[in-house]
Symmetry: C2
Subunit: 197 residues, 2 copies
């Protein structure tokens, strides 16, 4: 059995968000919408990148929509209802299998947990709450953003303002990034953008 603890070298953990959005910045049409609308080229890219990562941070809802493929990979599933059990000093997380670990983001120091587990390359797979949590908690070094040439008109945003942020316009966080590479994935124009903070 492949251990959940990574054998990577001693470098600093790198947090890599992976997301596909519509031209109007939506990651889904509604809360329970799966990623059946993304191009096959994006899916191929995503799988190849996940192959290179040590672990995936994913929200509970997103995990449930893709249990099949994700159960074969190391995952830390963020869930506010995860029952804490001592795992590493000062952290709480609930191990389900060798590959699957639940963590309550409100009770767990995720950065510390990742360090304790010696993961070096961490994929952030969404959904909106998970992207937002990682962005706000400095677990966000890069993003691979696929822009599909489609408009939903409305739907789920890449980032979800937390209730504590108050109404739109108040306490909005701003983050500057730098575009690192551009790749056109197919004829229709699915575009893979790689940004770094």
């Amino acid at each position: 059995m492949v251990p959940i603890v990574s054998n990577s070298s001693n470098r600093m953990p790198k947090y890599i968000a992976i997301a596909a959005v519509t031209l109007d910045g939506k990651i889904a049409r509604h809360k329970n919408h799966m990623s059946d609308w993304t191009s096959k080229e994006d899916k191929v890219f995503m799988r190849a990148l996940l192959d290179k990562c040590d672990v995936i941070i994913v929200g509970n809802n997103t995990y449930k929509t893709a249990v099949g493929p994700l159960s074969k990979r190391n995952c830390i599933v963020l869930s506010k209802t995860a029952e804490p059990s001592p795992l590493t000093r000062g952290d709480v997380a609930q191990r389900v299998t060798e590959r699957l670990l639940y963590a309550n983001p409100q009770k767990t120091n995720l950065k510390k947990l990742i360090r304790a587990l010696n993961y070096k390359k961490i994929a952030i797979l969404g959904g909106a709450q998970t992207y937002t949590y990682c962005l706000q908690n400095n677990l966000f070094d890069e993003i691979y953003l696929t822009i599909e040439p489609i408009i939903f008109g409305q739907g789920v945003d890449l980032f979800a303002p937390s209730p504590s942020e108050g109404r739109v316009g108040e306490r909005v966080q701003k983050h500057k990034l730098k575009l690192f590479s551009i790749k056109k994935l197919n004829k229709q124009g699915s575009l893979l953008l790689h940004y770094k903070k």
Copy 2:
């Protein structure tokens, strides 16, 4: 004085949306936020494109934030409170100056009005309600979308679901486009994408 009626040839009117968004698909941080966050390269591009257009369709709020530069161009300002006065057969619009015309989108057949005024190249400058109105009413042939390498985390979407569309997930319109060109505008990675329907 330059007449508001265009002298363009007999081709069909082309509706070209122009928008700048953050990496997370926001056109502003809040309702009254001006476009002070976009790159100077994007502003240069926008002005050059507007120079080639016969008229600008713009919402009243957006118009107010840029009265100075926009007052020098032919504008149709969309406003729900515009007072109708007969202009062309079957249409209502309120002319303020040679260059400025107010139209109530709920009472005006904008397509018919544009045809009557003989405009051929129409720029749609936003904001969200105006982009949405044009998208939903088939006044949307192309979009020049500048993606600035910045994250707002929350803010104003490119498209605004109308109240009649009900809750998120219901009656969402989907539009497929094709990526026509990509241009990196500066070192930081502001990206100009041109899509056609």
